[in-house]
Symmetry: none
Subunit: 219 residues, 4 copies
Amino acid sequence: MEMLSPERSPRWERRKERRPAELLAAALDCFVERGFAATRLDDVAARAGVSKGTLYLYYAGKDELFMAVVRENIIPLIDEFRREVTVSSASSAELLRRFLLGWWARVGETKLAGIAKLIVAEAGNFPDVARFFHDEVTLPNHQLLAGIIERGMRSGEFRAIDAEASAQLFLSPLVLRAIWNHSIQPCCADICPISNERMLTAHIDMVLRGLIIQAADPT
Amino acid sequence: MEMLSPERSPRWERRKERRPAELLAAALDCFVERGFAATRLDDVAARAGVSKGTLYLYYAGKDELFMAVVRENIIPLIDEFRREVTVSSASSAELLRRFLLGWWARVGETKLAGIAKLIVAEAGNFPDVARFFHDEVTLPNHQLLAGIIERGMRSGEFRAIDAEASAQLFLSPLVLRAIWNHSIQPCCADICPISNERMLTAHIDMVLRGLIIQAADPT
Amino acid sequence: MEMLSPERSPRWERRKERRPAELLAAALDCFVERGFAATRLDDVAARAGVSKGTLYLYYAGKDELFMAVVRENIIPLIDEFRREVTVSSASSAELLRRFLLGWWARVGETKLAGIAKLIVAEAGNFPDVARFFHDEVTLPNHQLLAGIIERGMRSGEFRAIDAEASAQLFLSPLVLRAIWNHSIQPCCADICPISNERMLTAHIDMVLRGLIIQAADPT
Amino acid sequence: MEMLSPERSPRWERRKERRPAELLAAALDCFVERGFAATRLDDVAARAGVSKGTLYLYYAGKDELFMAVVRENIIPLIDEFRREVTVSSASSAELLRRFLLGWWARVGETKLAGIAKLIVAEAGNFPDVARFFHDEVTLPNHQLLAGIIERGMRSGEFRAIDAEASAQLFLSPLVLRAIWNHSIQPCCADICPISNERMLTAHIDMVLRGLIIQAADPT
DNA sequence: GATGAATGAGTCTTCATTCAT
DNA sequence: TATGAATGAAGACTCATTCAT
């Protein structure tokens, strides 16, 4: 490999621009896997391919790193929620379906799921972060979903239900599965449980079945 | 000193018997609140009202203590699952309702909910524990629920659905809420979210509505 | 040595009462020798014959230890100043002589001299400590001495001089020598400079000669 | 860019020549303020307006820098001592007065006073430097002063005293004040103590009064 | 059994020093 | 020559664990 290369590879590279993202990615993985306290900065650094000291060039300490991990990953999500003003001519059932599938695609299946697990696990030690997450992520998300449900009720498409509570209920299986995938699932990889898709399909079926007002039910 | 006492310090004795339970309770609280790594044995001991050294008279170390916390809390639960052979003449809908309400009463509302949160948070560091929990708690629980659903389908009370997946789905909101109550909820105490009861009611309504085959729906 | 001793010596001893004094003594030596920053807590612990962790059972950290070293050594000194109300029928010259000899015996020759050196060296990093030292040690000391000088002037024994300034001047050689003995002197041990006694004698002679009003000077 | 410039960037060049002096000045300030160990090279560099790496272009390391600071500041002083062969027709009292005033003007009031404080503080960590200072600065200085005193004794102007010891004694208040001004004085700026001038005046008065043989004392 | 003083391995954090740019 | 990103050894501090009392 290196035979033809006259210059030997340098001991390290200057990557000021990319470092933060690399460090945050490494830190997220470690924090999700082991939790805040059990994560050693040595491990984060090693996973990011730098020395421990380099971490401190970018983040003031372990706490700062944790906050940054959460903040940097969540902010794009928040922005997306803001943009997602569901003006559409689709049926409310279709909107609901799309919302759940969309949430899974954009959150449940991505590393953001790890963030959710992380925050649940560390809420006791980082109440500010937990609060931030709740106010900026959970609540808006629920409100968006509740809005869809209410639209369906107003249009007569859905029967009358507790929209606020239902927003939580409808999201629960997805959130729990997202968390599960980053905690217990890796320990039980051999068991081959119900797949994400199967879960999603069954859930959407169940939700719509319980919601839609139909003349007759031929099933 | 002790000469006149026929039974040697009965108060000591009684204490000695209670100690393990007191220590486990204190440890559970600490572990749930802060996580395994961030919990100091000093804190556990202080919360149990003993000195740090005393802990080691009952548990060999931090890991042992953790395992014991999980084991001791879970075993009664497992036993209960085993006993709960649902032979009943009630309708499947009624059984389902009872199961969910029962789970909430016997798990969701108790300190066992904390165990769930703890295991989710520490699965990465204690895969054996996570696996044990999955095999002995989660799976039997799901099977029990799936059994009820299948009974309802066989009897023509419920429509045909994916019973295995649905068992997970139906339990998800309860499990997530249980976890939530031990992590983010305490940080957002002022917000007064949807109450546990309201959530339960809406959920059971939704589930049964999506499940039961009805001639007409007068709602 | 240990041959006849059936019991082997324990790995460590319980010495709750004596530890603080032992630690402070060790810390004082290290701080005076090397300065605050260059002193490693490992060294302090080793010199006190304990492990590093033990230090933290008694002092919250390096800063606390430093403060304690200064405080504990200075407080007895302050108390002594307070008690030393020089009511005496001796001549003012005799009082002055006694004061200087006394200062040397009680401060200059003792480990308190090291404290003076330490504070001079670390004033920049511990301004509060420096201020405390100035207010509680330096000033009272100067005032005591100035009082003696003023008494001598009032009684006609001393000529009229700037008593405040002279108090500082008269103490300077002693203070500087005390500091010197803990900094440069150890590096130049072979040079055999003027001894402390010779310095003291010459100083007292000089001071009294410049102060006392005499009919004639037969020297 | 530089095409039209016949001499290649003269500003750079001039800078390059000044750099060492700028660095030494910055280092002196930092070392005096905080001590050797507590001084970060980052701070020195920042105070000199260069980057940390640049320091290493001029000095091999922190120790080297420290030595250079001491050496560069002291050498001119030593040279001056050598030149100062006190051949004068003035009275010995006048010479003595000039020496003390001169020392204060040339050392006590300048940044060299900081050097004295620095060496006192760091003697334990840099015995070689302390020794150098003692041999090349302190001793010659004392010898010079002792020479003046001896001249006065030989000429019958001064009474017979311990010239060697007195040389130290006479310089002590100035040295101590010089050190003080760089350590404790800044912490007690509000207290407005005796001014340097008042101290000097009182001291010279005291010294001469104790030294000169006078027929009568008209004071 | 109970205690808590003592220990020391493990981590976070700092900073002198190096070196790619 | 100048820079400052990167390094890694050193040192403060914590805490699970041991053990003298």
